[in-house]
Symmetry: C2
DNA sequence: TGATAAGGTTACTATTAGTAAGCTTGTTTG
DNA sequence: CAAACAAGCTTACTAATAGTAACCTTATCA
């Protein structure tokens, strides 16, 4: 990621592009709640579609691809002949839990 | 905020609308970095415009209004005759620091 | 007095999201 | 064995949001 040498502010002074990129990436419509849902463990496409109120199939596909591209989730196709596809957080993806929990905490206190 | 009684998950199972709303609000284009910048203390309109690489005046105005509406910032117009306007985080706004820091921490470890 | 800065607004274009339909390859049911 | 349904998408189109450019008013400053 660009500019990561500038991402250790004691005060919040430099632009910190990687922070900017990251907050807008997980804040992108539906992305956050997909990650939140996957923190329970792997899920199938239609499970996510059913779990997440209001998301469309097109956008779910799009967001899953973006998360995959960033290395936050992996797509497991168990047996190649079958239709069984599972989406799972990677180790890096699982570390998003800290962010999710910080938001939940804020919401509980102030939301 | 709607649904806040469901916002205390030990596992991440319910939809938790307020979480969804919040992550997309602060992840909305430019909002996160505006908050990040205001954590240093109050700033004027043109200071923010100069500090934040790439933001346009129109969007800065729009985001500041949204943050104001949510009660995360206040607009201080010091002397009514003058042009001096400062934007400042409210107490609730300042508590966003936990979220900002969680993201910075993730970026430092994994970005 | 003329120029520049603050704090915007308005009009328009481009990008992103949402809706609807359809498609292919299983599996399940009658 | 056929028909119906489910999984996991893709394509085409409309609506909403972001970005760009120009302009405006009121202070202050040289």
């Amino acid at each position: 990621m660009r500019n990561s040498e500038e991402c250790n502010p004691t005060t919040y002074q430099n632009d910190c592009d990687c922070f900017h990129e990251m907050i807008e990436f997980i804040g992108k419509r539906w992305t956050g709640i997909i990650v939140y849902r996957l923190l329970n463990g792997p899920k199938r496409y239609h499970e996510l579609l059913a779990d997440i109120q209001g998301i469309s199939d097109r956008l779910l596909t799009e967001r899953l691809r973006e998360l995959e591209t960033r290395g936050l989730i992996i797509k497991n196709v168990s047996e190649p002949g079958s239709r069984k596809v599972e989406y799972e957080l990677t180790e890096i993806g699982k570390e998003l839990e800290g962010i999710i929990n910080a938001i939940l905490k804020w919401v509980q206190a102030n939301g």
